[in-house]
Amino acid sequence: MQVIRSPKVYDVCIVGSGAAGGMAAKILTEGGLEVVMLEAGPTLDPNKDFKEHVWPYDLAHRGAGIAGMYYNIPYINEFTAPNAFFTIKGEPYTTAPDTKFMWLRSRIVGGRTNHWARIALRFAEVDFRGRSTDGMGDDWPITYQDLAPYYDKVESYIGVFGTKENIPSAPDGVFLPPPKPRCTETIIKKACNNLNILCVPSRLAIITKEVNGRPACHYCAQCERGCMTASNFSSSQVLIPPAMATGRMTLIPNAMAREVLVGKDGKAQAVSYVDKATRQERQIRARAFVIGASACESARLLLNSKSTLFPDGLGNSSGVVGRYLTDSVGSSGYGYFPQLEKVPPHNHDGVGGMHMYIPWWKFDRKNDFLRGYHVEFGGGRGMPRVGQFNNICRQSEGYGSALKQKCHDSYGNYIGLGGRGEMIPNAQTYCEIDPDVADEWGIPVLRFHFKWSDNEIKMAKDMQETFRAIVEQAGGTYLTKVETTGDYPYRISVGGVILHELGTARMGTNPKTSALNGFCQAHDVKNVFVTDGAAFVSNPDKNPTLTILALSWRASDYLLQQAKQGSL
């Protein structure tokens, strides 16, 4: 088999088209560089691919999918934007015998930014200084002050709504006005006030005023389906188009990167990849490389890039690649709120996400556990969906008009709450190359090891106590049964399912204990950058995407500067 080598040498080859790759593409092309981007999935066409405004009854499967496949999978249903998968035929991953890990990959231009919840939270000062604060984990090699200008730039460019609240653990940003609270949020807010729990407008990457020609949101609450008006943020609709518009961007879809090839001079020279359509191996050459394939895929790419110079994988002389893997601590519950029965029928939709949230509020006291969590909540009269009345059917049993009425009367009166907390890296949680398994492209796959430690379990316990307290303070009934023992005590989530994998090629000042410097540049290979979640040193109680965007913008600015100096 002949490997097809492209004659052209691009300035930069970007692997991955999501938050990290998309941001790098925009900054680097606008900065004058010729960029080629490899994306493992196909292109996205909002005209054809988005099911925004489709009713369940417009689909024969009503949202449940063929054979009802979506009944038991979180997040994904027939309506969601395409190509988010926990299981990809031909592209498996494995887990150690004592591990359950669910790994979501979005094989499509824009990656997981087509599917994310748009929660855009800045990391706080203390989040960059974990070890200095309480001796656990490590400090970042950068500070909040280093990143703050980039948070400003990102929020201004993509548009984030919120309000300035002056909460130390939840820094304020550049905000558009938030939408008004729903009835459900009004109830939770009141209960939180009585419990001295902070509850403020949320910060979401959804625009409530026109931004850069993108119309404002029209409040259909279907963000996860994709947005035809680009009123929420995705890389596919907000970062890739301006990059393409420069005329300096080549996007190669259906390209599965296999390894980064290194020359005798120790610099990366090319990416070898499989063109999925023809199943041919190709190489693309560039002077510099930005890896943004998502934390674990980026680690996988580095680990598979073995050479005599880098027998343990590109940029892995420290041995940290694949290590320090974390996901957010998750736990959820729900309650029934009789006061919602009195609300007249009205349009409850709003944006596709919560209008208010609970930022970490117990930062001023000693808790049973270190670090913290935020709480998201939602419910009320959303678009009816399959599976929605399972619980009431199991509770009420029976059949006939009485059952019909019970479903009707209970509709819209539930609110669910979910905690998202900080996981401190531990030695039992990491990913590595499985020596026995390769995918259908002949690329060795990842094997995951995942374990919660006591700190996370205590945090989940606290989350459950918080949910119950809020629901009961509001006069509701907390309906969730909580096991305190077993594999998932206090309903702690399965590893990976919160979709915040981070840390697998972490940055640091010491090349013996980190893979990258503060600009996401590999210590070992100066012309390789990893700007996605792999670079993170900690996984605090804030969703990572806003920080990925900021880090990638900052790294891209640095790359431009280094390129001008001729240092790459």
Binding site: N212, P241, V343, N347
Partner: protein, 198 residues
């Protein structure tokens, strides 16, 4: 600024006035309407003429319809599960899902056998009183504790009840019955209507 819903046609006219830009991909009005009409057209073709079940045979499908109707009947001004298309939805899923084939297919046969034993007739040929009697038994888990021979029917009915609810509450009738008022285009989100005590 008005916060009333505006229909899709008007919104897309408004959007067309926004300067086309490389930064956004707007769905052209013609394409949106074409997609909408195609979906509606497919639905219309599907409902015109009798439905030919993909998995259940004619008798089983008639039994399925009768059960769906019993689980969520029409009442007052509101239609029931049959009018909402629940039997078609259930038949479609069952034709694709082997687990449902076993549990629902087997359940209908169990029901007929049980009715035959008790009432000397298959379910659809039993009187309304007899039908009520058997459904009252299999609609409640507690009855299985008293009479374990009911267990297969109870498991069957529990699954059917949930799928029937899904088929009803995701239909146009069901969504209107619930009073869901969303899936519109709003220029502003109006928030929570005034409710005493909220």
């Amino acid at each position: 600024m008005s916060s009333e819903g505006i229909d899709r046609r008007n919104l897309l006219k408004t959007l067309a006035a926004v300067p086309a830009s490389a930064l956004i991909r707007l769905i052209p009005r013609q394409t949106a309407e074409a997609v909408h009409n195609t979906v509606q057209g497919a639905k219309a073709r599907a409902t015109a003429g009798a439905y030919a079940p993909r998995f259940f045979n004619a008798h089983e499908y008639a039994t399925l319809r009768a059960l769906c109707q019993a689980i969520i009947p029409p009442d007052g001004r509101w239609g029931g599960a049959v009018e909402a298309g629940a039997p078609e939805f259930i038949d479609l899923l069952t034709s694709e899902n082997e687990d449902y084939q076993q549990r629902l297919g087997g359940g209908i046969i169990w029901l007929d056998a049980t009715c035959q034993k008790r009432f000397d007739n298959v379910y659809t040929k039993c009187s309304p009183v007899e039908q009520k009697e058997i459904l009252d038994l299999i609609a409640y888990r507690a009855n299985g504790e008293k009479d374990p021979s009911l267990a297969p029917g109870i498991g069957f009915f529990s699954l059917l009840r949930e799928l029937t609810a899904d088929g009803f509450f995701t239909s146009k009738i069901g969504i209107e019955y619930l009073g869901y008022m969303g899936n519109k285009y709003l220029l502003e989100f109006p928030g929570c209507p005034p409710v005493p005590g909220l």
